[in-house]
């Protein structure tokens, strides 16, 4: 369907964009069409896409990517506090800081490979988290999380002790004479970034991020990254120094994480240390694997599924279930409520765990593999002789489409 041409990529991008931008309408029936969750879909989609550039293409499994997300959030909130509530400078600054952070951590961690690399990244992230939670409180506001506050009084005398955690400066905004009532809201050229505008902001970032990831994946650089995953030794004997490639991929994916962190701060200007904990790093790993490692769409899908479970399944309580099964006779209704109740509300983790197992047992390539098989079935039913080839081609749209599609043709 999407050939291996540049044109095919444009079509994919177009379809992706349309789907993302119409989510507020299409997701309404499953109760996911409200700004916060849509924002989360876009933000974690972005995070997972970036993570996939490293993990999906090079095979290097970072277990500390949440650190870059956290750093991005902190950087953004500091820009909001010190300079301006306009989001663009914050986003730029966050990407930059996350990039530098990734450069340093990547430079050290990439001296090792395999599980040793994973543990190095994990160690750096855990150190960041532990320090941010406690010792670095003057910079991070610890457990309470870094937040936007009211402005410090304008007429500060020479004896005034400025406490930047609890009062803000917003020097640039003040220079332009912005008047604030209470705590201000982030904005993009004075368009408020909460609610749906915030979602569209994140959605546009997601589309741009998707586009860049797609280009990287199809590029020479992307091919080199895939070659690293496939056989690093051969690459070395082929005249390629793999370290700069790995480092570049690491930094790029770190910058994606920084961007995701900034988007979080934009839509919800509060940066806490939990964002950097290993569970957060693990979450993006799970998202990517769940959707399909090395595929373009998979990570976005995986992110959406996990966030959907976290926000919607956890909110279903017995009252809702009783309504849902009210059409059943009362005895049966109770049974249903009890049984289903185990999997929703406080049991949403159980459902998630089962989902992980089922997906990985039956669909080794993640959700995207499932779609590829579905397409395959669909095609075969239509008695199309080229069906199997086309089906695998569908999956390969994401990975290495060129190789497989025409392979059997």
């Amino acid at each position: 369907m999407f050939g291996n041409s540049v044109r095919g990529d444009w079509i994919l991008l177009l379809v992706f964009s349309v789907v993302v931008l119409t989510l507020p309408i299409t997701l309404a029936p499953i109760g996911a069409a409200y700004p916060d969750l849509l924002q989360k879909f876009a933000i974690f989609g972005l995070f997972a896409i970036g993570f996939n550039i490293l993990f999906g293409l090079t095979g290097y499994l970072s277990f500390g990517h949440a650190a870059f997300l956290g750093v991005g959030s902190y950087a953004s909130v500091w820009v909001f506090k010190l300079f301006t509530m306009d989001v663009l400078p914050a986003v730029m600054f966050s990407i930059l800081i996350a990039g530098i952070f990734a450069l340093v951590i990547g430079y050290v961690s990439l001296r090792r490979s395999g599980i040793y690399f994973s543990i190095l990244t994990l160690a750096f992230a855990q150190m960041s988290y532990n320090l941010a939670y406690s010792v670095l409180t003057p910079l991070t506001n610890g457990e309470t999380a870094l937040q936007i506050r009211q402005l410090a009084p304008a007429d500060r005398g020479p004896d005034y002790v400025l406490n930047l955690l609890d009062e803000d400066l917003r020097l640039v905004d003040q220079m332009f004479g912005v008047v604030e009532h209470g705590i201000p809201i982030t904005n993009l050229f004075s368009l408020k970034m909460s609610g749906y505008p915030g979602f569209y902001f994140c959605a546009v970032l997601l589309i741009i991020g998707f586009f860049i990831a797609m280009r990287i994946s199809r590029s020479n650089f992307g091919m080199m990254l895939r070659a690293i995953k496939s056989n690093q030794t051969r690459l070395n004997y082929t005249g390629i120094n793999t370290r700069p490639y790995l480092l570049a991929a690491f930094v790029i994916s770190g910058m994606y994480a920084g961007l995701a962190g900034a988007s979080m701060a934009v839509t919800d200007p509060l940066a806490g240390a939990e964002r950097m904990q290993w569970t957060a790093s693990g979450e993006v790993v799970l998202m990517t694997i769940l959707g399909g490692v090395g595929t373009l769409l998979g990570p976005v899908l995986g992110a959406a599924i996990i966030k959907y479970f976290e926000n919607i399944f956890s909110s279903i309580n017995t009252g809702i279930l009783e309504n849902l099964f009210s059409f059943l006779p009362s005895g049966l209704q109770e049974v249903f409520v009890v049984v289903v109740g185990m999997f929703v509300g406080s049991g949403w983790h159980l459902t998630l765990g089962l989902l992980f197992m089922i997906i990985v047992i039956f669909l080794p390539g993640g959700m995207m593999e499932g779609f590829a098989r579905l397409f395959g079935l669909f095609r075969r039913n239509k008695n199309d002789p080229a069906a199997p080839a086309a089906a695998s081609g569908e999956a390969a749209t994401e990975t290495s489409r060129e190789q497989k599609t025409s392979g059997e043709g």
Binding site: T144, A145, D166, S346
Partner: protein, 454 residues
């Protein structure tokens, strides 16, 4: 559709395409939705328009505080029942002055939505946002830690709904992080310290050396500061204060230095799992069998929760601490509440459950008094509201910081519990006057009430 296609076909560069899509989004996506929202714009956020009013119960359902969250949720459900006139009415009958009639609130039936905070600020905010944006909740309540409470309180302030804090003990919630839209019934670290001071003096004398182990985050520091101040006020010396990582699990490396420090009191500024572990281990190290400076070595846990204390088993016996409320209290309100809760769930309520139940009633009553659910109206009726019959004796919501002022319970681990719920005995009810402080002491300011439409 043709417009989009031509966009892509003709434009080659990413920037143009991105801008095109962005523009598409802003023109055709945002505008209509905003238009729709504005179309039936209310005068405040999530104004209930139907026959029900929705409250958002945001409690931990997974993670270390899941049981506490479950107990909170039970209390909320009970409160909703009572407000809607079902069940025995619980504290509705003892609550004075109250205008609640047991027919819902302002003629609307009370409905609720639930969510999982996971005891993480971002998750708690996401959950609260869902309640506000999707379920049109007009009030959010719950929480089992101060970080979460402060984060959600900030969110409610921004969104323009009322936040009735659940279990949050840090000074900051109504101190430097206080918000006009947020209210706290629970007590704080300052009150714990102030209440414990005199009791400790009576029990352990004026000459003591205290060693603090403190959870290394804001609540821990705040608790340590309060305890240090109040114990030093009765003449005790502070030997050392040591910060311990949150979730350390094994505290042995922090406990052994206590043995040689010359201290004769150990103060554990820990809560939840940390408290269970550090207390269990401190007792295992024989601290309580020790004699230092000719005195028995003592351990103090400033904030006790019966629910969590179960995890420490026998280790809590005889240990002093403070609590917001305990089910063994004999006033009419407490009796009514315990009876109603126990009959419903077969176990007495925890202090977290109590505070959540009370907060719901207080909110409902305030709405009834104001005749509206608008935050301005609620804030006006709650500020300076004096009430009784909700288990804590005469209580006041102070206008300056939205903190409840009431008597504080000093409790002690029960030496001979008759049931598994009977873990704490109340040794002293410290009067309100003794724990009260100036509202400027903790810094912060409420700011304006946010009652704008969302």
């Amino acid at each position: 559709m043709t417009k989009k296609t031509s966009n892509i076909a003709t434009r080659r560069t990413i920037l143009k395409a991105g801008a095109g899509l962005g523009a598409f989004a802003l023109t055709s996506g945002v505008a209509p939705l905003h238009f729709i929202r504005e179309a039936h714009a209310a005068d405040y956020c999530n104004k209930p328009t139907g026959k029900t009013v929705t409250l958002g119960f945001n409690v931990p359902q997974t993670g270390a505080y899941a049981d506490e969250g479950a107990d909170e949720l039970r209390a909320y459900k009970l409160a909703v029942k009572h407000l809607n006139g079902e069940g025995d009415g619980g504290m509705l009958s003892t609550f004075k002055p109250s205008v609640l009639k047991g027919n819902g609130v302002l003629g609307k039936k009370v409905a609720f939505v639930t969510g999982d905070t996971q005891t993480k600020s971002p998750a708690a905010r996401a959950s609260a946002k869902r309640m506000i944006e999707k379920d049109n909740a007009v009030m959010i309540t719950g929480g089992s830690s101060s970080g979460v409470a402060i984060a959600v309180q900030g969110l409610c302030q921004e969104a323009g709904v009322i936040f009735m804090a659940g279990l949050t003990h840090s000074n900051d919630t109504t101190g430097k992080d206080r918000r006009a839209n947020g209210f706290r019934h629970f007590f704080n670290t300052h009150m714990s310290g102030a209440a414990l001071g005199p009791v400790l003096e009576k029990a352990y004398g004026k000459v003591r050396n205290a060693y603090h182990l403190t959870a290394d985050y804001t609540w821990g520091w705040s608790q340590q500061k309060s305890m240090k101040e109040s114990t030093e006020a009765i003449g005790w010396k502070t030997t050392k204060t040591v910060k311990t990582p949150v979730g350390a699990g094994d505290f042995s490396q922090y406990i052994t230095p206590v043995l040689n420090s010359g201290a004769d009191v150990l103060i554990l500024n820990h809560y939840g799992k940390d408290m269970v572990n550090s207390l269990t281990q401190a007792v295992q190290f024989g601290l309580r069998d020790k004699q230092v400076n000719g005195k028995n070595f003592e351990i103090i846990v400033p904030l006790f929760s019966r629910l969590m204390a179960q995890g420490a088993g026998d280790a809590i016996k005889g240990i002093f601490g403070s609590t917001n409320w305990n089910w063994s209290l004999k006033d009419e309100g407490s009796k009514a509440f315990v009876k109603s809760f126990g009959a419903e769930y077969g176990a007495p309520p925890s202090m977290a459950a109590h505070t959540c139940y009370v907060q719901t009633l207080l909110y409902a009553n305030a709405a009834e008094m104001a005749g509206t659910f608008s935050p301005v109206g609620i804030v006006k009726s709650l500020e300076g509201f004096k009430f009784d019959g909700l288990g804590n004796g005469p209580t006041e919501y102070r206008a300056a910081d939205h903190q409840c002022f009431k008597d504080v319970l000093v409790v002690r681990g029960n030496e001979k519990p008759t049931t598994k719920f009977d873990l704490l005995e109340v040794v002293e009810v410290t009067p309100r006057s003794q724990v009260e402080y100036d509202d400027k002491m903790l810094g912060g300011s409420l700011g304006p009430v946010n009652s704008k439409p969302c």
